[in-house]
């Protein structure tokens, strides 16, 4: 028992050291170690441009075959990797201790993943995608076909290499530089549930696309059609783990350098590995106007100031996050105060307001959820008390007639008693 506790202590201490070192060097929100699982080590060379861009950004890649029997995501309860690239669409099962649940637990522990499927993707890959809220066309032979927006290099043939330019409008996900050339895609399509707010379509098919087996004749209407088909989707879990799922492994390959693919995959992978769009809120402070110490309790009708600093990770350092729509709520079952906070453009957001004339246990709430950004969700409990017995006004001007009345009655009674008793 004691030894275990010692070990734990040591672990905690080393963690602390790591954390403090991380802070000192201004480290980002995520580690830099990725595990790349491939079907075939040839992928390493056929997709070298993509891997090269990852490595150039300082990510540390470890290539393993998906059925490597020594595969493991964690050891002694610690995850060995900070992210996962699953480029093994046809693997029926992973080697070692890794299976579908292990991958999902990896994500739920707050790690990121890029998953590339392909037509004839295995049930394993489909299962992982389903758990992330994405459904591939269940026909294993199906591919996305578009007879209008196909790649110009492939005029003849079955039009399965399609040119996608229906990209999501978000600088956070795709970078501020516009992707000019269309993104070439050959692979399986998928659908996302529009009511699922965690999943976003990054690259959608054009309205003329449909998903079917290109080798057979179409017997019944295809189940996935038009812009309902998503080609590449992202999912940001509630714990801010990010997952990119693409219906095509080919998308990441070196073959389509001319097209917008390289820029597309580079920019989306930056987003996935938290090099962009990661917000952190620190230094929450509140105090009464004119004071600096944080009280444990406010009184009704106090004037208070609230401030919080919000920074965004730029890939190399924490930069102040600038926006004009960060709101503070003073909340007890419903917001009593809802106010935009003003920013000094250096990351500090602050505002001041009057505590409502209601006592109870309130919360300072900042709920900031924006497309592509990690969610900022702060809640800090603070009780608000009524006036103390000696905080009320002692003498009320409008009550002076009553004071006068009572004292004059007392005086009159005294005089009356005196007169009654001694006048004879």
């Amino acid at each position: 028992m004691a030894a275990l506790r010692l070990l734990l202590l040591l672990a905690a201490a080393s963690l602390l050291v790591v954390a403090s070192r991380g802070d000192a060097s201004g480290a980002g929100p995520r580690g830099r170690k990725l595990l790349v699982l491939v079907d075939d080590l040839a992928v390493r060379s056929s997709h070298s441009a993509f891997f090269g861009s990852l490595q150039a950004r300082g990510l540390d890649l470890e290539f393993r075959l998906a059925d490597d029997p020594k595969l493991s995501l964690h050891r002694y309860g610690q995850y060995l990797y900070d992210g996962l690239v699953l480029f093994a669409p046809s693997t029926p099962r992973f080697g070692g201790s890794v299976d579908q649940n292990a991958v999902l637990e990896f994500i739920d522990a707050g790690h990121d993943m890029i998953l590339a499927a392909d037509s004839s993707a295995s049930d394993l890959i489909r299962g992982i995608a389903t758990e992330c809220g994405i459904e591939f066309d269940e026909d294993p032979e199906a591919m996305v076909i578009d007879h209008i927006n196909y790649a110009s290099t492939e005029v003849e043939g079955d039009h399965t290499l399609i040119a996608g330019d229906d990209l999501i409008q978000s600088d956070v996900i795709l970078g501020s530089k516009k992707i000019e050339a269309p993104v070439l895609f050959r692979g399986i399509g998928h659908a996302v549930n529009p009511s699922n707010s965690l999943v976003l379509k990054v690259l959608s098919a054009s309205p003329s696309a449909y998903s079917a087996n290109p080798k057979t004749k179409l017997a019944s209407p295809p189940s996935l059609t038009g812009s309902g088909i998503s080609l590449v989707s992202i999912m940001q879990a509630r714990n801010n783990a990010r997952v990119l799922i693409s219906g095509s492994l080919d998308l990441f390959s070196n073959r389509h350098e001319k097209a917008g693919n390289e820029q597309f995959v580079t920019e989306t992978s930056k987003w996935v590995f938290h090099e962009r769009g990661h917000l952190k809120a620190v230094n929450v402070a509140h105090h009464k106007v004119g004071e600096t110490n944080e009280p444990s309790m406010y009184r009704i009708n106090d004037d208070l100031e609230y401030s919080v600093e919000i920074y965004e990770w730029s890939g190399t350092s924490w930069k102040p996050y600038v926006a004009d729509d960060v709101q503070i709520q003073f909340y007890m079952m419903s917001p009593y105060v809802l106010k935009n906070m003003s920013t000094d453009k250096k990351g500090l957001y602050s505002t001041s307001f009057k505590v409502p004339d209601v006592y109870g246990v309130f919360q300072f709430k900042v709920e900031y959820q924006r497309l592509g950004y990690t969610g900022v969700s702060l809640a800090k409990q603070i009780p608000v008390r009524p006036y103390r017995h000696n905080e009320y006004e002692r003498f009320i001007t409008s009550a002076y007639p009553y004071y006068a009345a009572s004292f004059s009655t007392m005086g009159a009674f005294f005089i009356f008693s005196f007169a009654y008793l001694y006048h004879k």
Partner: protein, 790 residues
């Protein structure tokens, strides 16, 4: 009983004169001390059988408040805003609590610590109630003595010291308002009667102060402020108006109301609510009567008659106007100016019709007949005799006793917890009855015996005089009554009784007429001996019953349960186990939801924030929790999540057969929840009007959160899911929880604690079946499939 017998025997045996009085006084004081010790020690069964621990629910709150008071001082207590209860509304403790008990125990604690006796706050709280029950029996002595003399006083004190009804509320550890309030109640009545007998302003002022203490202690003070006006009115109507009556009542209303308004929880209610109107009305009537009698003395009879007709015509008009205004004012408020609890007293069916939250409390139910026998035992039969004795002769004080008894009987019939108010009245009247009976019996025994031994008439006369002295106080007081009534101008004449008695004995001024009277009420020797024996046996039964009730019935602290079986004693300490788990394994700011019964205990023992507690001040909040408990899992999760609840606590007795568990309370949750949120309907939980959780139960019942939390994994205990409280197998045995997870279940499964699962990190897509139809319909189907309550 032994003391009173000794007392009864002591009076005739003592020699006349100063020595006799001194001996009687000492004996009386000694008896009173013994009664105090008896009252204190009969309440210690709970400490001896269990441990020195606070009992039940409300005492835990009082204990917590006392702790706060002893730690932070009176001003912090006064301004205490408690953010750990009624989350997120909070509760202003200082302004919503009757501070009398807390301040009393806090002062005792401060005093003993100042004397370097290091008692813990808990110890002081545990023993406050027994100490005050000793005080209460002394106060009863004083009150009864005012009405019927020392003998009756001692008798009543001894009876009150061990009356089971009072024991049930004041055993060691039962640290509740009633513990000190009964003392305050009786003492206030004593001071009122004392003022009435003496006409002294000093006692009138003391009376107002005592009334203030009562207001501080208990909401039952409204009983005093309605009973005393009723008595005053009775005195006026029966032509017993005197200046003593005025002095007894007018200062009480003025000072008492002013003082009552100082208590934050009462505040302006002291002049605003209908409960207090009677006192003001009688105050006005008293002044009119006083004025009329003053005028009467001033004017000649003819002038007086003229003035009367004038005043009556004008007065009637004014009265009608005032009454009309009052009626309009009162009618404009929805509850007619009465608080819910008072209304349910006046109309016993009110609560069950309109306020389920009041009706749901077991102690607000009307009592059953056996509970009278249980709680006041033989007193129920002695009380009528006491009433008769009070009418022989009727004085202001004895009429007050009768009035007190009659009203208390009515109130005890409405609410079982007001049996407590009846107990002192029953004790006083029984004391009077027993004392008069002993009086008559011993006197006739003495008379007959003396006649047996000597037949000289002179000696017999002497003997009878001596026997009379046993009831000297009675005749004395009644006589003084008459005298003072005749001569109002001489309040001094009613001097202290000792002096008067002495004076009387010295002058031997017993008139021949009274001698004759006494001889008439003499009984045969055999009858009086048998009567005395029977009364002693009756008293013996009473004592046996009281001790049994104190030891067996009323000493269980209800947080620790025991049961006897062949293997021996089983102790169920599940509640404290659960609260200890909460305090050690959850975060300080975590919120725990449970039915309101367990709110006080959770805050006091586990120190965790609760949503609702036993101070049922916000019906909507309780209804919210009731709704959550009666909702399906997902809806309940949403309600609890919106209240930031992290843990849900349920009490389940099905495994060990503990009947007052949450499943048996559940219909009240449905009713109270449905009262605010109409989508919860009681018939949905009943099968053909019957409440059941077996296979016949409705699906709504079997899918509600309370059922699931209580019976989750229950089938694993015996393989059948047999509920020992309900006595059948439960309806749904195998199910899983989707939004809650079990984190702790106590040893006997009496308390089960669940944690709200966090929202899912990811949202899973549907699993499309092959050959599924159109996309949208399958999404819907999948959505339905995910629905946890299908």
């Amino acid at each position: 009983m032994a003391e009173t017998e000794a007392d009864a025997a002591a009076a005739p045996s003592a020699a006349p004169g100063r020595l006799r009085n001194a001996f009687g006084g000492v004996l009386c004081a000694f008896t009173l001390i013994l009664i105090g010790v008896l009252a204190f020690s009969i309440r210690l069964f709970s400490v001896i059988k269990y441990e020195s621990v606070i009992h039940e629910f409300d005492p835990y709150f009082n204990y917590r408040v006392t702790q706060f008071l002893s730690k932070n001082g009176i001003y912090e207590f006064w301004n205490w805003f408690d953010d750990r209860t009624w989350y997120p509304l909070g509760r202003v403790i200082g302004g919503t609590v009757y501070p009398g008990l807390t301040l009393t125990a806090g002062s005792i604690w401060w005093l003993v610590n100042a004397l370097n006796i290091p008692l813990s706050v808990e110890t002081v709280c545990v023993f406050t109630a027994p100490i005050f029950s000793a005080f209460a029996s002394w106060a009863t002595y004083l009150l009864t003595k005012e009405a019927k003399g020392t003998g009756a006083g001692l008798m009543a004190a001894a009876i009150l010291g061990m009356v089971p009804s009072y024991i049930s509320r004041s055993v060691a550890g039962s640290y509740d308002n009633e513990a000190v309030a009964i003392f305050a109640l009786v003492f206030t009545f004593y001071l009122y009667v004392k003022t009435l007998n003496t006409g002294s302003l000093f006692y009138a002022t003391l009376n107002a102060l005592s009334y203030f203490y009562m207001v501080c202690s208990w909401g039952g003070y409204t009983f005093i402020i309605n009973l005393i006006p009723m008595h005053v009115l009775l005195c006026i109507v029966t032509g017993r108006y005197s200046s003593r009556l005025y002095i007894a009542y007018a200062p009480l209303v003025i000072l008492g109301t002013l003082l009552a308004a100082l208590v934050p929880v009462v505040g302006f209610n002291a002049v605003l609510t209908s409960e207090h109107f009677a006192s003001f009305l009688v105050f006005i009537i008293l002044h009119v009567v006083a004025f009329v009698s003053y005028i009467k003395g001033l004017l000649t009879p003819r002038l007086y008659k003229m003035a009367m007709t004038l005043v009556i015509t004008v007065g009637m008009a004014v009265c009608f106007a005032v009454v009309a205004i009052l009626v309009a004012l009162v009618a404009s408020s929805p509850t007619k100016g009465w608080s819910g609890r008072s209304l349910s007293l006046l109309d016993p069916t009110y609560a069950s019709k309109y306020i389920p939250i009041i009706a749901s409390v077991s102690e607000h139910q009307p009592p059953t007949w056996p509970s009278y026998f249980m709680d006041i035992n033989v007193l129920a039969f002695l009380v009528p005799a006491g009433i008769i004795s009070c009418f022989l002769p009727l004085s202001d004080a004895s009429s007050f006793m009768v009035l007190y008894l009659v009203t208390a009987v009515y109130f005890s019939g409405v609410m079982v917890r007001l049996m407590l108010v009846l107990a002192p009245a029953a004790c006083i009247l029984s004391g009077i009855a027993l004392s008069s009976a002993f009086d008559v019996l011993t006197r006739s025994m003495k008379f007959q015996l003396s006649k047996l031994f000597d037949d000289g008439s002179a000696i017999s006369g002497n003997g009878s005089t001596e026997a009379t002295s046993a009831s000297a106080v009675n005749t004395n007081s009644s006589k003084s009554e008459n005298k003072t009534e005749k001569s109002e101008a001489a309040p001094k004449e009613k001097s202290s009784k000792k002096n008067r008695r002495k004076e009387k004995e010295v002058t031997e001024s017993v008139p021949a007429k009274s001698k004759k009277e006494k001889r008439l009420s003499v009984l045969p020797l055999e009858a009086s001996v048998i009567g005395t024996l029977l009364l002693i046996i009756l008293g013996g039964f009473y004592v046996v019953h009281c001790v049994w009730a104190a030891a067996e019935a009323y000493s269980a602290p209800s947080i620790v349960l025991t049961s006897r079986s062949r293997e021996g004693l089983h102790v169920f300490d599940d509640f404290r186990e659960a609260y200890a788990w909460l305090s050690h394994n959850t975060d300080v700011d975590d919120k725990v939801a449970s039915w309101w019964d367990y709110g006080y205990q959770t805050t006091a023992m586990a120190n965790r924030t609760v949503i609702v507690d036993n101070n049922t001040w916000n019906n909507t909040h309780i209804a919210t929790v009731g709704t959550a408990m009666s909702s399906p899992e997902k809806a309940a999760w949403e309600i609890f999540d919106s209240l930031d609840v992290k843990y849900v606590l349920v009490v389940f007795g099905g495994l060990v057969g503990y009947p007052s568990d949450d499943i048996n309370k559940f219909l009240w949750m449905v009713r109270i929840g449905g009262g605010e949120f109409p989508h919860i309907k009681e018939p949905d939980y009943l099968r053909d009007g019957q409440y059941r959780v077996d296979a016949q139960a409705t699906p709504t019942m079997l899918n509600c959160l309370m059922y699931k939390l209580c019976y989750y994994r229950f089938v694993e205990t015996d393989g059948k899911g047999f509920d020992r409280v309900r006595g059948y197998e439960i309806g749904k045995k195998h199910f899983k929880l989707t939004h809650f997870e079990e984190v702790f279940t106590t040893h006997h499964w009496m308390v089960r604690i669940y944690k709200l699962k966090p929202q899912k990190n990811r949202v899973r897509a549907k699993l499309r079946k092959l050959k599924s139809g159109s996309k949208s319909s399958s999404t819907l189907a999948a959505g339905r499939k995910k629905n946890p309550w299908q």
